[in-house]
């Protein structure tokens, strides 16, 4: 495997933020509001606890094999056959999210901004950019990501500042009117999103300061949690929980409604937010696509991942456009299937690996 460059723990943190945040702020408010109604703001809190746990588990697991990605260390942990199968599951996980992200992006663009442009235009262009950045490698991806995530987090803070005066406290009442059950149930999607932090298992070998891997991963999950809270509270506080649940892209609906007192001419600036969000979405797509192709090339022991970039990107572009016939089908899929699939892989397989590593700790230490 050729050298893929070095990134700092700060860059790894931004990488993990980029991997979770862009779609989380997009769909999670409505997904949680659907189930937990006015208590939807509690579900990220519950999910955050799980997220912290998996972030810690994944990072510390990865640190047991500081020079290997999960694809490389799974066989030495589980034996060749089972290890390869686990590797394949992770590859499937990365590519599954890649395809969902592609479609998610296209659906937002066509639904909110360009209603007569076919999906393929948006998927194609974003994938083209992702191919470009993945071709340039991890270091470049991390550098671009640093800039974009910084701007993106600033825009979320800005969102907080402009919506805070319009929040309606009664939108959050009654508190736990139907008990804790719906809230816990609604925590599944955010918990699945937080669990994307397991991608750190692909990054640890490239970290300059490996000692900070756990810290970086936990910091990333915390920042995502705070941003998600801002967006969820802002969305529900402005739209109300029932209206939030009817939108698929509720946060954009809020941005669209932002008004500035005294600046009546400055309205409907959601297109600017869209332009920034395109960058964040590119980072999410690029990050997952990067770890996906890297994982696949390592799974096959290829010397470089670059030759498989374009074929896979083409394939995924087609898949993302063809897999769902309509937006409503896709919305249903992201609401019901996606959280379960990605959640079960991230939590289930990672915890399984972690437990095995704990059980075989002595044996492994002896080897090392």
């Amino acid at each position: 495997m050729r050298e893929e460059g070095r990134i700092s723990s700060y860059q790894a943190m931004n990488f993990i933020i980029a991997i979770i945040l862009p779609t989380a702020i997009l769909v999670l408010p409505s997904l949680t509001a659907e189930r937990a109604a006015e208590n939807a703001w509690l579900s990220p809190v519950i999910a955050f606890v799980l997220g912290l746990g998996i972030a810690y588990v994944a990072a510390s697991l990865a640190l047991r094999f500081p020079d290997k990605t999960v694809i490389q260390f799974a066989p030495s942990l589980l034996g060749p056959v089972l290890g390869k199968i686990v590797g394949l599951v992770f590859i499937g996980y990365f590519f599954f999210i890649t395809i969902v992200v592609q479609r998610e992006f296209a659906e937002l663009m066509t639904n909110l901004f360009y209603d007569r442009t076919p999906n393929i235009v948006f998927v194609g262009l974003l994938t083209g950019l992702a191919v470009y950045v993945v071709y340039k490698g991890l270091e470049v991806l991390a550098r671009v990501n640093d800039i974009i995530i910084l701007l993106f987090l600033f825009s979320i803070l800005f969102f907080l500042v402009v919506v805070i005066k319009d929040l309606r406290p009664q939108a959050f009442l009654p508190f736990l009117g139907e008990g804790i059950g719906p809230v816990v149930f609604s925590a599944i999607p955010p918990a699945a999103w937080f669990a994307e932090a397991v991608v750190i298992m692909m990054l640890v070998p490239f970290l300059q300061d490996k000692g900070k891997a756990i810290k970086a991963n936990i910091a990333a999950v915390t920042i995502v949690f705070l941003s998600l809270m801002i967006i969820t509270v802002g969305t529900i506080g402005i739209l109300g929980s029932s209206e939030t649940a009817t939108f698929h892209f509720a946060s954009f609906a809020v941005v669209r409604r932002i008004e500035f007192a005294g600046l009546e001419f400055f309205q409907r600036q959601d297109a600017l937010f869209m332009a920034l969000w395109v960058g964040a979405m590119l980072m999410k797509l690029g990050a997952f696509f990067y770890v996906g192709v890297l994982a696949l090339s390592q799974w096959f022991n290829l010397r470089s991942y670059r030759p498989i970039i374009v074929p896979l990107a083409t394939f995924f572009t087609v898949l993302s456009v063809q897999s769902w016939d309509s937006f409503s089908e896709f919305a249903l899929f992201t609401g019901q299937t996606v959280p379960l699939v990605i959640g079960s892989v991230a939590y289930g397989v990672t915890l399984f690996l972690f437990v095995v590593a704990m059980l075989r700790r002595k044996e492994l230490d002896g080897k090392a």
Partner: protein, 546 residues
Amino acid sequence: MKSRDTDQMDNLLRYIDAYRGDTAVQRSGGSDPLPDIPQVAFSPVLDENVGLIQTLMGDNFDFILRRVRIRAAGGRRAAVFFLEEIVDTVEVSETILEPLAHFASFEPGEPGQDVMGGIVESILEAAAVAEQHDLRGLLEAVSTGQVGLLVDGVDRALSVDVRKYVRRQVDIPQTESSVRGPQDGFTEDEYLNLALIRQRIRSPHLVAESLNLGRVTSTVVGVVYIRGLAAPSLVHEVKSRLRRLDVDAVLESGYIEELTKDDPLSPFPLLLSTERPDRVAAGVLEGRVAIMVSNTPFVLVVPTEFTSMVSSPEDYYVGFPYGTIIRMVRYLALGTSLFLPAVYIAITTFHQEMLPTELILSIASAREGVPFPSIVELLIMEFLFEALREAGIRLPRPFGQAVSIVGALIIGQAAVQASLVSPLLIIVVAVTGIASFISPIFSMGLAMRFLRFPITLLGATLGLFGVAVGVLAILIHLAGLRSFGVPFMSPVVPANLTDWKDTFVRWGMWTMEKRPSQLFKSGRRRMARGLKPEPPQERFRQGGER
């Protein structure tokens, strides 16, 4: 004494024949476009040597050959020859011809010394004298402006350096003038340029090495750096990239820039080319390497970063608040020159809801009667603007007035009245044009000028999403660039937050305690701690108590 062997002579004769067109020039496989002058040793007979030189150089109308007798050597015959206007003729007669003819004898106490040694030690008054052992070396020396000296009975020659190239006086830098700060700019003379730097950095650590590049032109290329500050590996990399250049000619530093760029296909300049000595001095002091090319006032500084292309030395001469504001204005202008037309088209065609109703109505009414879509209008105007700009540079001075009047009338008035374009669009194009002049580095301005068009087309086809795609593509490209190995976007990304105080802003001079992190791993401190000035505790008054 070694006699000239016949093989060498045959080679020479063949070369002379070829050169006169008597026989076809032999090109072995076409690999060597220029037949080299064969290496031929000198003969001890003066007339033979002179004859050869006459054959090879005598056709030039600036070639001068003067025969003299050396009085100190008992009237022995000698010949002095040179190319007239690249040597200092006064110097030739004062330091070579007169001493040869008038000095009565060599200094005593040098027995056994041959005539050549005596001439060098006791007669010639010029500072730089070298001995030449074969014809080729002598001819090459003479073509760079040295004076050749042959003496009868000696099978060696002397070359005396009294060159005087045509040089322009130091002048205000044409492309990078400033209000506060030094007003001198580089000239076409590399020695003068080096002097401008040496006057600024009066340190024995300042090193200026030179290479000769260009198979035909033999251009002097200077590599200037501070020993101890510039990383040895960087200096080595610069020199090896330069030595690799096996080309006929290096006529300007642009040749070197294009042939040593890390990414030759990038529109961005990856070597900083500047006319300002203070800028080069500042760069060299940060551990960079300057590449000076003879015959051009543009000196290259490597490695360089994006942020230094957008800063000007003047930022450091005015106070830091103004430096910061000027820099921010520059970044805004940079953004404007890249994106304004694209954003204008994107918003007016795709996102009208972003504009206030009154504005969108006035845009619509202004466009009344214009038959083209906005993008066509814009392309027409951009073309006219770029054409005027180019014409303004190239056209002979007396026509300048005429073109500016016609341009102003056509662009300003007639186009609008003829309903070819809308007035708002003219504002957009004009603002973009002005903003594009703000770049302190000319080649950076060119990059912006070039990139504006694809982004405009993206904005016109896909709205703000298209603009975002363009921005992201440029960002990815920039993040992947390197300038002599140093990431072009550093210290922005990979981030070094403490270095950010000299990127988009220019913070107080006392905070710039360290040298750039992308160039130094250790030894970064460049000033003492705690230099922030403070008022004294006491009040000082002349002739009284406190």
